[in-house]
């Protein structure tokens, strides 16, 4: 297991998890979110190959109503 931060909360996940695997674990659709790792925006076509490392800081963002 490795520890990462997701939206500022500590979380333990399996080693060698890709972003896609993380999103599946969290029950989130890749198409409906934007993912940043250590303040770098990760393009959707890399979600499968991008492997998370210990102490990564992950932000998962979505669009919501606003004026």
């Amino acid at each position: 297991m490795i520890s990462i931060k997701i939206n500022n909360r500590d979380k333990q996940i399996e080693e060698n998890s890709s972003i896609n695997a993380l999103l599946e674990f969290l029950d989130l659709k890749p198409s409906s979110v934007i993912v940043e790792v250590n303040l770098n925006i990760i393009k959707k076509d890399r979600y499968d190959k991008f492997i998370l490392k210990d102490e990564d800081n992950v932000e998962i963002i979505t669009f919501m109503g606003g004026g």
């Binding site: 303040l39 109503g65 606003g66 004026g67």
Partner: protein, 255 residues
């Protein structure tokens, strides 16, 4: 055809709408259909992992131009970061800069907004900054590459109308880029007044989204905007202290 040009895009509607506060997100599509609004704002937030909500983009037809805002940003740096996230997410190049750290009145920080505008315009964004109406700020924003300015009529969500009327008039008179009155428009008459003054467009969220029928409210606002715009183009605004009879004051019948 009376066209509103913002950046590289042309619009026939002068009503910009928002997606906040809708009780039923399905009303957003109906509201857009009924009002003809072609530009809509959205916000970006962290997903609540315990209770993820639907992505608002699923409720917006594809032909509508998205105007993501940078709400939540407290300084230029944060606004710039949010703008880049929105662009990578496929929202296009339009961005409404909103830098706010005053929670009571939600007044924008004009100074940080100018900084963010400069950086984002240099990066190819179509920048629409939300500002406290100030003609000096507007000139600086124009120089910084803003594609429009969005002075507030009154505090966000207040429905209090054009409390900043004379300041907005100064901006309209001197601006070389579109002036979009944003925030505080609570009634169609407020929107009509802004358009009669010569504003290029208005942005309305709360008054439409919280109406008992958002679609009908949007229709009412869009009619008011059209009326106000037509009056402005016809220059129907001369005033006089004295009466000016509608019929000649001669040839009265002898009664």
């Amino acid at each position: 055809m009376d066209i509103l040009k913002i950046g590289n895009k042309e619009f026939s509607s002068r009503l910009l709408s928002g997606t906040g506060k809708f009780r039923d997100k399905n009303d957003i599509k109906k509201m857009l259909e009924k009002s003809g609004s072609q530009i809509i704002t959205v916000a970006l937030r962290r997903v609540n992992l315990e209770n993820p909500i639907d992505n608002i983009l699923n409720y917006i037809p594809k032909h509508i131009t998205l105007l993501p805002n940078t709400s939540g940003a407290r300084n230029a740096k944060e606004a710039i970061r949010i703008a880049h996230i929105a662009r990578v997410a496929g929202c296009g190049d339009f961005i409404k800069i909103e830098v706010i750290h005053d929670a009571k009145y939600l007044m924008p920080d004009n100074e940080e907004t100018i900084k963010a505008t400069k950086a984002l315009a240099n990066d190819g964004f179509i920048v629409l900054p939300y500002i406290l109406p100030d003609i000096v700020t507007c000139k600086k924003l124009e120089d910084a590459g803003a594609s429009a300015v969005m002075p507030l009529g009154s505090p966000i969500g207040s429905n209090a109308g054009l409390q900043t009327k004379s300041l907005i008039e100064m901006i309209i008179e001197n601006s070389n880029i579109p002036v979009i009155v944003d925030a505080g428009i609570g009634l169609p008459s407020h929107a009509a007044q802004a358009m009669e003054m010569g504003a290029d467009a208005v942005l309305i969220n709360t008054a439409i989204a919280t109406a008992s029928s958002p679609a009908l409210a949007a229709r009412a606002f869009s009619l008011a905007i059209e009326a106000g715009r037509t009056a402005y183009l016809l220059k129907l605004q001369e005033q006089s202290k004295y009466a000016n009879a509608s019929s000649p004051l001669t040839g009265f019948l002898n009664l």
